[in-house]
Amino acid sequence: MILTVEKTIQWMREIHKRMEANKEQLTALDQAIGDGDHGINMARGFGEVVAKIDGTEYESVADVLKSAAMTLTAKIGGASGPLYGTAFLKMATALQGQEVDQQNLKSAIDQALEGIKMRGNAELGEKTLYDVWYQVADFLGTEKVEDWQEMLEVCQATIEDTRELKATKGRASYLNERSRGHVDPGSMSSYYIFEALATVIEMED
């Protein structure tokens, strides 16, 4: 059992901390190839998630994720709101009634990935957060994870890969060739989501 209700709640808190701490960085990345609101969006969204969690009792991991999904969808807006909202909702659905181990976490992230694809119509290599979720799903499927930091190395490499890509989806696509040379902001915020996940999974119970 790598995620409990408490750990999932903690996951949300850890995400929120990171979004607040890196709000300016994410916004700066979005200014370079987007409209400069990504850090603001993420900090606001996960701030609301945590506020909601604080006043609620949860029965299961799926419940926490579903609650987060609803809040993200209702409070972020922009591109990232529906995408992360859908991702967390798909995870919640996948994990419904289950205890969480690596295997069904992998299925949950597969489902999230499908959700992102369905919503955003993006494929691998279009310089979006899809790229990071894709590589994480792929990584979780390949071997039994001992050291969750390895997942983050995968994320980091993917983020770095987005830098030289030409964006073909999302706002950055309007820049065409000028979108190259900048890391995708959504990929970066996804990194913080998985960094937070690794942290809570590795936490002592």
Binding site: G39, I40, G77, G78, A79, G81, R119, L175
Partner: protein, 329 residues
């Protein structure tokens, strides 16, 4: 950042509050939402028209709410598409049973959030149709990408769809009229200075004294190309050239919009209009009507966009129809 505001996270809230206070004779706000609607919504027998998007584009979108134009406008945070629940509230509030048309600008965020709202509304038994405005010729038109942005031309879609809906035309007809405008409208913009999202506090980019960004959107984003600052006439030539190359305008009548991005004095907009009028005359294209002013802004960005709408009989009469929307005359 120098702005007249109280708290950076209350700008949308306070702006909407001020806006409905100022125009309470014709508009109101749906309680606990960021939705501005006509006082008389839903109008019996009339298709409801909903648009919206991130804030920071004022007078878009609430300025276009009124008889003969939008029934509701949904405001998101600055440059951030509103969320599905807000759009849903707008749809529910304006539906008289005749269905609702959503006018969406082609941004991933707007499309996704409005789509989700439409799904939710359909689940509640409301008929919803959508049109997606993509008038910005500076972006390559491709099925492999997100396609073109929706910018100032959107205002003409509001106007025409609103006028047709006011005649109690059925939803499919209103939608067809909106799509016709979308097919006939082209825009392109230029920025001389960036803008600052209040919550960020930092300018969206930096430009040297002698540089400008060609092919910008309405969100303070960089444009297609950074080039040396040019004369008003040369900029007009470039933008209009791109627009004219993108569509068939021979011997046509058009509506022209010179749209200020926020900080450009009206003086400069009319200097641009002058050249646009001269160029169109040379090409044998007739200006039927024009709009010079701020219609779809990007906070305090300096710059402007040119929009050309090719006219047919239906569009002409819809443009001339009266509206009491605050920002359109």
């Amino acid at each position: 950042m120098k702005k007249v505001l109280n708290h950076t996270d209350a700008v949308v809230e306070e702006m909407l509050d001020g806006f409905v206070k100022a125009h309470s004779d014709s508009l109101k706000r749906l309680p606990d939402t960021s939705v501005v609607i006509r006082n008389d919504a839903p109008v019996t027998g009339k298709v409801g028209i909903v648009s919206g998007g991130g804030s920071g584009h004022e007078p878009a979108h609430a300025g276009y709410v009124g008889k003969g134009m939008l029934d509701a406008a949904v405001a998101g945070e600055v440059f951030t598409s509103p969320t599905p629940d807000q759009v849903l509230e707008a749809i529910k509030a304006v539906d008289s049973g005749e269905g609702v048309l959503l006018i969406i600008k082609n941004y991933t965020g707007d499309v996704m959030n409005f789509d989700m709202a439409a799904e939710l509304a359909e689940a509640e038994g409301i008929t919803v149709e959508k049109v997606i405005v993509n008038d910005d010729v500076s972006v390559e038109d491709s099925t492999f990408t997100s396609g073109r942005r929706g910018i100032a031309g959107t205002v003409f879609v509001h106007k025409v769809a609103g006028a047709i809906a006011e005649t109690k035309a059925p939803l499919q007809e209103v939608k067809a009229a909106a799509e016709n405008v979308i097919k006939q409208v082209r825009s392109m913009g230029v920025a001389l200075s960036p803008c600052t999202v209040p919550a960020s506090g930092k300018p969206s980019f930096t430009l040297e004294e002698d540089e400008m960004e060609i092919g910008i959107g309405i969100h303070g984003e960089p444009g297609i190309e950074r080039v040396p600052l040019q004369s008003a006439d040369r900029i007009a030539d470039t933008l209009l050239g791109k627009i004219l190359a993108d569509h068939e305008y021979d011997n046509s009548e058009v509506a022209v919009m010179i749209n200020g991005m926020g900080a450009t004095p009206e003086m400069e907009l009319y200097i641009v209009y002058r050249q646009v009028a001269n160029l169109l005359k040379e090409k044998g294209i007739t200006i039927y009507a024009n709009w010079v002013g701020e219609y779809m802004t990007a906070l305090e960005m300096a710059g402007f966009s040119i929009t050309l709408l090719k006219l047919d009989h239906q569009i002409k009469s819809a443009l001339s129809a009266t509206t009491d929307a605050q920002a359109f005359k």
